[in-house]
């Protein structure tokens, strides 16, 4: 062994420098002309697509059916770019038939309804789901077609309100007919599919007001894009996507390289979540926040330090989980050729509550801003700027936020009396009101922290404030009805020994 071999400092430094260079090369790959040319070549396109598909597969975030559908659609679009819109619409329609409901509660309800139907008039769960999708697509074609033909009509000018009215009427009809009838089963299926597509349809209808040239038929087939995700439209609609469309081969290559980077980053974050799980849940045996709240409510709560660890771990895990699936969806959309902004962008950097919302779940914030904030801000309390902002913020973060979750969960009304079903939403009401109050105060305070305020008041305290607010708010972030509002409040107080 030579002296050089034992003198590890400089070699170690060189090794780190090498890693840093590779990291830098990867992070700037979309700005590298050679990489751009490679990504635009036939082999490069195949390789970039393979990396994205592999990242999705290794993350285990997608079902096999979804992974196959997404992969086939992406490869087909890459091979036949002129057919991009028909391929996106066709694949999305197929996805809607494959997974008509956003959450399992609706599928379970329709399955139970299928079992209740009288012998001789019975339909299978799949037939009911198929019927629900068919009715909703037909309704969307009719709505968007009529809206395009008669933009001067009041209902066409206020499409979101009109769609909300249609949803309420469908729900009332489902509640009104005998529970064991075929009409009941069919109506609940339609309501479930309609609400899973609602915000996509709302964006499509608003798009038509902006004179975006996409045909109404294509919009009506794009009610649940093939890339999956929640009921929040990441990528909004064709009108929004078109604003970010790559205009030439080089831009398309750059967009796909950005998509590939994001997919790989999402895979790395998936590993981080697994590590946190291994450390917190497996090694330290820390329960989830939900379990900790329920244990406290049942009178056999965990030690205070366990509850605090659970609360803090829940906050960071939630951030990671939202970031992972948002990144994957944005990566897929970029692979299609639309360079849309990320859904999550460094939320820990936020120094205000409003900025956190912008960074944490961008497209949900956009939904609330587009459909609730702006309409209220443009119409009410125009003489009083503070009240105007407060009311619009309440409409978005309070009313809109609650309505989004409430409408999604209305299947509970099929099995429970209305008063009992309403009780389930008590924590969600509190959560929405507390969030709205926090955001209103944050906006009223106005003065943003600045570097000249010093390290503590600029870098530390504002971020701690944001962290504490959202960390505690998560205790009330519940739509299951398990753990009442009082029990959740009691858990929050118990953290401080109260």
């Amino acid at each position: 062994m030579t002296v050089a071999d034992t003198h590890i400092g400089p070699r170690d430094g060189r090794a780190f420098a090498g890693v840093r260079r590779w990291r830098q090369a990867w992070l700037t790959i979309d700005q590298n002309a050679g990489a751009q040319n490679w990504a635009a070549s036939g082999f490069g396109k195949l390789a970039v697509h393979m990396v994205v598909v592999l990242a999705m597969a290794l993350s285990f975030q997608f079902s096999t059916a979804a992974l196959v559908l997404i992969s086939l659609t992406l490869f087909a679009i890459a091979l036949m770019p002129a057919w991009r819109i028909p391929l996106m619409v066709g694949s999305s329609l197929f996805y809607l038939f494959l997974r008509p409901f956003r959450i399992d509660g609706w599928a379970e309800l329709v399955s139970a309804k299928a079992g209740l139907m009288p012998v001789g008039a019975a339909l299978s769960q799949h037939a009911l789901q198929f019927g629900g999708v068919f009715v909703v697509v037909a309704l969307s074609v009719l709505f968007l077609g009529r809206q395009r033909l008669h933009p001067e009509m009041t209902w066409a000018k206020r499409p979101v309100l009109s769609l909300m009215t249609i949803w309420a009427l469908l729900l009332l009809a489902a509640l009104a007919v005998p529970a064991s009838s075929m009409a009941s089963a069919m109506l609940w299926s339609v309501v479930g599919v309609f609400i899973s597509c609602f915000w996509f349809l709302a964006y499509a209808a608003v798009d038509q007001k902006s004179k975006d040239p996409t045909p109404a038929l294509a919009r009506a087939g794009f009610l649940r894009p093939f890339w999956g995700g929640s009921a929040t439209p990441i990528g909004k609609s064709f009108g929004y996507l078109n604003k970010f469309d790559a205009e030439n081969d080089q831009e398309l290559a750059i967009t796909r390289l950005k998509g590939m980077k994001l997919a790989v980053w999402a895979l790395i974050l998936t590993g981080a979540v697994r590590l946190v799980d291994m450390l917190v849940a497996d090694a330290m045996v820390i329960p989830t926040l939900h379990s900790a709240v329920l244990a406290h409510a049942a009178g056999n709560g965990f030690a205070n330090v366990t509850n605090w660890t659970s609360l803090i771990a829940n906050y960071f895990t939630d951030l990671l989980v939202i970031a992972i699936w948002g990144h994957f969806i944005v990566a897929i959309i970029r692979m299609v050729g639309y360079r849309i902004p990320r859904n999550t962008r460094n939320p820990l950097a936020a120094r205000t509550l409003a900025d956190f919302w912008n960074r944490y779940f961008y497209y949900f914030k956009e939904l609330l801003v587009d459909f609730f904030f702006y309409p209220a801000f443009l119409r009410y309390f125009k003489k009083n700027p503070k009240l105007r902002i407060a009311f619009a913020t309440f409409c978005a973060a309070g009313l809109g936020n609650f309505l989004y979750h409430f409408t999604r969960e209305t299947y509970v009304f099929a099995a429970l009396p209305i008063t009992e079903a309403l009780v389930i939403f008590q924590s969600a009401v509190f959560y929405s009101l507390a969030l709205a109050a926090g955001l209103i105060i944050s906006q009223w305070r106005g003065a943003k922290p600045k570097p000249e305020h010093g390290f503590l008041r600029y870098e530390v305290l504002p971020r701690l404030n944001v962290f504490a607010f959202f960390c505690f708010l998560k205790i009330f972030d519940d739509i299951t009805g398990e753990g009442t509002l009082a029990e959740r409040a009691s858990f929050a107080l118990s953290l401080f020994g109260l």
């Binding site: 009041t154 206020r158 007001k209 604003k243 970010f244 914030k365 587009d370 801000f377 125009k382």
Partner: protein, 78 residues
Amino acid sequence: MSRAIQSVIVDMLQERDKPADIAPNDAIFTSGLLDSLAATELIMTLEGEFGLDLADADFDISQLDTISSLEALVGKAA
């Protein structure tokens, strides 16, 4: 005398330490250059300085997204 729309946007960008060299068709809000709070400020400026009433059901919020569409909006109201 009201300011030109271009200077309103440039002022807003400069206040937020954002690059102010913006072309007429560059997206201001959808690109993330300015956020929805800045949009409220812009709406109030359009109402206060340019006398626009945006409460009309025909108004489409995407008209605020570029300097050209803003100029068209102001021009239509003039």
